[in-house]
């Protein structure tokens, strides 16, 4: 549909120009809002963290307030225990690493000793086992009769 003369006349009317000073004002306002976004997010995170710390502090204060020195002493003892435990735990593998492997003579000697020990222990085990099998508990009534006699 082609526009008639009246429509063409309207189309030719020039529109008002946007004020030039608006450009910088609007773009600066937009830039400020763009920059503020991460700052706001950071502020929100920081505030939340601070609130969490404050709550934790309050709860701990309530719990420890009656005897703060006693709790502090207990905490110090625990820290000392942990420190000693860690220091001992650290030395064990170092000592194992540092000790030299036993010589072949020592190994032969150790094996001999083990064999002798096994021979000594072996018969006692068998005797104990036999004794445990031969034991038959007597009824209580019979035991009572023995005591009466």
């Amino acid at each position: 549909m082609k526009p008639d003369n009246f429509e063409q006349k309207l189309q030719r009317q020039p529109l008002r120009q946007i004020p030039g000073e608006w450009r910088e004002e609007i773009l600066v306002a937009a830039d400020v809002n763009r920059r503020n976004r991460p700052v706001r997010e950071f502020t929100f995170a920081a505030t939340t963290f601070r609130r969490l710390l404050s709550t934790l502090n309050h709860q701990l204060s309530t719990l420890l307030w009656p005897h703060p020195k006693a709790w502090a002493g207990l905490a110090a003892i625990w820290i000392l225990i942990f420190a000693v435990d860690f220091s001992l735990r650290d030395k064990t593998p170092v000592m194992a690493e540092k000790s030299a492997p036993p010589s072949p003579e020592v190994i032969v000697e150790l094996r001999q000793q083990q064999r002798m020990l096994a021979e000594l222990i072996g018969p006692r085990d068998e005797h104990d086992a036999d004794r445990s099998k031969s034991f038959v508990p007597q009824p209580r009534s019979e035991r009572a009769e023995i005591v009466a006699v």
Partner: protein, 168 residues
């Protein structure tokens, strides 16, 4: 994410948005506020233009929605102020020729009398050069509705401007 190039968007679309908003609001301060709101929205939400094929149409839709929201928020007293402002603020440039100036002032007055939905369609058809399909897509209305709104609006303008137009 870096976001849209606001300076480029401003240079390419701000003039069209300004004229459209001024025609709808008839208030330069409101037009400035709405235009600034649009650019702040774009700055805050860089993903807003992701996947948008026609930036102009998208921005005009934002402007239209913002202007309609503003109109709805206004009280009766503000509407009276709008009518008063319509006598002063014209969306057209000043003309050197007195006859042309008279015609432009009368056209601005006649446009102000149109309902906002007809005014928006008339503006987009006459001064943005959009087709009815494009207007329909931009304003999220059926193409037939866009065509009928334009026809009604143009008829009213013709009726009001006939005496001056025939004189020229």
């Amino acid at each position: 994410m870096r976001g849209p190039d606001l300076r480029r968007l401003y240079d390419e679309h701000a003039q069209a948005l300004y004229a459209f908003l001024l025609n709808l609001t008839r208030d330069e301060a409101d037009t400035r506020d709405l235009l600034q709101d649009i650019f702040i929205k774009l700055a805050r939400d860089p993903e807003l233009l992701d996947g948008v094929r026609d930036e102009r149409a998208f921005l005009i839709r934002l402007a239209h929605n913002a202007a309609i929201d503003l109109t709805r928020r206004r009280s009766t007293r503000d509407k009276t102020r709008d009518r008063f402002a319509a006598e002063i603020i014209s969306p057209f440039a000043s003309a050197g020729d007195p006859d042309e100036q008279t015609f432009r002032a009368a056209l601005a007055g006649a446009l102000a009398e149109l309902p906002p939905e007809q005014r928006a369609v008339v503006h987009l058809k006459l001064w943005e050069g959009l087709t009815f399909e494009e207007i329909a897509h931009t304003l999220d209305i059926p193409a037939n509705t866009a065509a009928s709104r334009y026809r009604y609006g143009l008829d009213k303008l013709r009726e009001q401007l006939r005496p001056i137009y025939e004189e020229l």
